[in-house]
Symmetry: C2
Subunit: 228 residues, 2 copies
DNA sequence: ACATAAAAGCGAATCAAATTCGAATTTGCC
DNA sequence: GGCAAATTCGAATTTGATTCGCTTTTATGT
């Protein structure tokens, strides 16, 4: 709808996304041997499945070990506790997600397009990785406890990015400069995550990605209309 | 803004709210002795505090027992497991919440007013009962596991009510008949719950109730504008 | 190929916390 | 005051996470 390509003004969003994509990767041990590296991946995949199925609290280390084909005590050679193992999963994937957004969002011309991309990518990513999404959206995101800095940060980045996109768009004049970025971001994120959560719990709407598009349309109309 | 008082048409919302308010109360045992009845309430209050502080998974039955001034094994005379104890809390309060909404919503003239009331009451209630809200919004609502029918139902009613309000409003001509009730309800609920969750986790915005009003304004504008 | 130190793996304890059980106490009621 | 039902609780039992110390495997230099 607008075009004003690359206004020079500092772009908040890029900075934030770049740092988020760099990730806070350094959990677990750093394997020196090949077999070990492979096993660590097996372990993470097995853990994702089991955690998604049973929830973190109910999941048994024994099940994860069996699923990964290693011994229970070996898990502790990789991660210091069941929780640390659980946290590692969203951290890795979120960093990857932010990276993909950076790559695909960079060439776009407007913040409006980037905002749309971000919201749609979030649902697509969840639809494509439902086990991971269950873990992130149903267990970790809302968890009372998590002070673990890396997780908290990776999750918070999600919100920071949306706020930055809204602000940058206002600054470029794509919508009212008086927009309440925080409130608008709350609506955008809340709607999308609620939709994802509903899908994860009930598989409704049947086609998450298809249902997202009209909702994003409606949400963007709200952004356009946002006044003081 | 509109007035069309009490159009006769069946009112979906009333039926749903009434059933929801009736609650699904029958958890735990039904004490015959006075002391026991009192203790059950102490237990539920203690449990609410401890669960809100530590999360359900980390909370220790021993802590709850100490806080309630009873022995650990006595808890099992009231509820069959830690989880059942945790579930009882939101079930009771939600029924009460729905009851209050019924009482306050009944006399209003428009569905628009009822919708506003419902959304604002939800945040108010959370702000007034933060321990309970932490338990509900951060732990139970998103929980992967809960098939326990009564909980699932009490939580689902929340969504059903919003959808019914949107539908009834459309039927009365308060907004477009072509509105996508499901999608609109997703936006409304998602925005509100996201706001509540953010407040519970970070105490931002500082004044939850005050911040809700302008957001609800914006959301209702979206309902008014909702086209096909 | 071979020796060796570092890296990785594992079974058998250990420990923490939920849950069960049966005896002892308290209550409501006659 | 006395009795049956209701309630309480301490002492097992059980489940499952975590730790420990020994064994096996790998990478690397010869």
């Amino acid at each position: 709808m607008l075009e004003k390509a690359t206004t020079p003004g500092r772009e908040r969003w890029r900075e934030i996304v770049e740092r988020a994509a760099a990730g806070y990767l350094d959990g677990g041990r750093d394997p020196k041997q090949d077999r070990s590296r492979r096993r660590q991946l097996d372990l993470l995949e097995a853990a994702t499945r089991v955690f998604a199925r049973d929830g973190i609290a109910k999941a048994k280390m024994a099940d994860i070990a069996a699923e990964a084909g290693i011994s229970v005590s070996s898990i502790y050679d990789y991660y210091p506790s069941k929780e640390d193992l659980a946290y590692e999963i969203p951290i890795r994937r979120l960093a990857q997600f932010y990276g993909e957004f950076l790559a695909q969002g960079e060439p776009l011309r407007t913040m409006r397009q980037r905002l749309r991309l971000f919201l749609e990518m979030a649902t697509e990513y969840a639809a494509r990785n439902p086990d991971w999404a269950r873990l992130l959206y149903l267990e970790i995101w809302p968890s009372v406890l998590i002070e673990e800095a890396r997780v908290r940060r990776a999750v918070d980045d999600f919100g920071r990015i949306v706020v930055a996109l809204v602000r940058d768009g206002a600054e470029r004049g794509e919508w009212s400069a008086d927009i309440n970025a925080y409130q608008t971001a709350t609506i955008l994120m809340g709607s999308i995550t609620h939709m994802i959560i509903t899908w994860l719990l009930y598989r409704r709407p049947e086609d998450l990605v298809a249902a997202t598009q009209p909702m994003v349309d409606q949400l963007l109309r709200l952004v356009d209309a946002a006044g003081p």
